[in-house]
């Protein structure tokens, strides 16, 4: 229940920041729940600080049947999504749009992509490999990963804040959302965009350079 609310909420927050950002220096919002915690400062004294939600450690098999972890995305920003190869509805549109971004940042090793399959029955690494090749994006910058149902569904809902449900009454057996989630180098969520909506994808295109320039200062 909480999750359902948090996406519209975070989008609302994103909208406000986008509107206000027109006036000043551009910076992307940090999305997701946050907590205020007492932390030890370097000089030994303690103080209060805001702790943002981050993507926790994970370990999945990629399209080359190699185990990859968060380490793969160290010092990178990346776009994460959830899909399955036999999806005939929103996934082709999401990946058409993501591929456009991929083409644009092909020469920038700081930008990566992470697509999780939610079809743990059929989408084995070799199926993912074929898919990546056919989509024309199999250069390593775009990782396609396979994991147990629990691990993928949990990270989707708890960490990337994307709803994924296995539902035998749905036409293709799954209900899921087409969010493209933008993650920064500190593993925080900096944007969530509907990957089937041209306007939101255009916004994502604009936000990537903003996020990249953040670390340059």
């Amino acid at each position: 229940m909480k999750l359902q609310i948090s996406i519209p909420l975070s989008l609302f927050a994103a909208a406000i920041v986008l509107i206000t950002s027109c006036q000043g220096e551009k910076k992307l919002p940090i999305l997701g729940p946050r907590t205020v915690e007492t932390v030890k400062k370097p000089d030994g004294s303690s103080g209060v600080d805001t702790v943002y939600k981050t993507i926790p450690n994970f370990s999945f098999l990629n399209q080359d049947s190699v185990t990859i972890t968060n380490d793969k995305f160290r010092d990178k920003i990346y776009i994460a999504d959830f899909f399955f190869t036999s999806c005939t509805t929103i996934c082709p549109t999401m990946h058409r749009n993501m591929k456009e971004i991929f083409e644009k940042y092909k020469d920038n090793p700081e930008v990566m992509y992470l697509s999780h399959t939610i079809d743990f029955k059929y989408d084995t690494p070799s199926v993912l490999k074929k898919y990546a090749q056919k989509l024309g994006v199999d250069n390593g910058q775009w990782q396609f990963v396979y994991g147990s149902k629990d691990s993928v569904y949990k990270i989707a809902e708890k960490d990337y804040l994307v709803a994924v449900i296995e539902d035998s009454t749905a036409k293709e057996g799954y209900i899921h959302q087409g969010w493209l989630v933008l993650i920064d180098k500190q593993k925080r969520i900096r944007g969530a965009y509907d990957g089937t909506d041209t306007k939101q994808v255009a916004q994502l295109m604009k936000d990537i350079p903003v996020l990249l320039s953040e670390d340059k200062k």
């Binding site: 005939t88 082709p92 549109t93 990946h95 058409r96 989509l135 089937t196």
Partner: protein, 140 residues
């Protein structure tokens, strides 16, 4: 009363003449084209793209005029029943599957075919509901 009847008949005749002057066939094709575009956006664009460009080698483009022409009678079957066999488009082999659209009526299929076969660089004229019905009877 009689004058009224003659008047109406005259008007009807006039309307028919004007209408047929504008080439009824072309008007019908234009209507099919516009409706076909809406259907295409709803059912096909996700895979085949707004410009019929396809998606990598997952989905073929709809720009191979020679293929569309030489398979004219099979196109309705492709849409209604989907495609499982591999297919060669513009010299590239595609080995995916296209989903079936059993829910589409013959007239929807005719409109879709008018749209795709007169867009994306294709120019192949009219498909009627009747020709689609005939083609569907001969599906393999």
């Amino acid at each position: 009363m009689r004058r009224f009847l003659i008047g109406t008949l005259f008007l009807l005749l006039l309307a028919t003449i004007i209408y047929s002057c504008q080439d009824a066939g072309q008007i019908k094709q234009d209507v099919y084209y516009v409706n076909g575009r809406d259907l295409y956006i709803k059912h096909c664009q996700n895979c085949h793209g707004a410009k019929g460009e396809g998606l990598g080698t997952l989905t073929p483009p709809l720009t191979d005029s020679v293929f569309l022409k030489s398979n004219r009678e099979k196109l309705a079957c492709y849409i209604k029943n989907g495609i499982k066999d591999s297919i060669v488009i513009n010299g590239i082999k595609y080995e995916g599957t296209m989903p079936a659209f059993p829910e589409l009526y013959d007239i929807d299929i005719a409109q879709l075919l008018v749209y795709i076969s007169n867009s994306f660089g294709n120019k192949q004229g009219m498909y009627t509901t009747e020709s689609v019905a005939t083609d569907l009877k001969n599906c393999k």
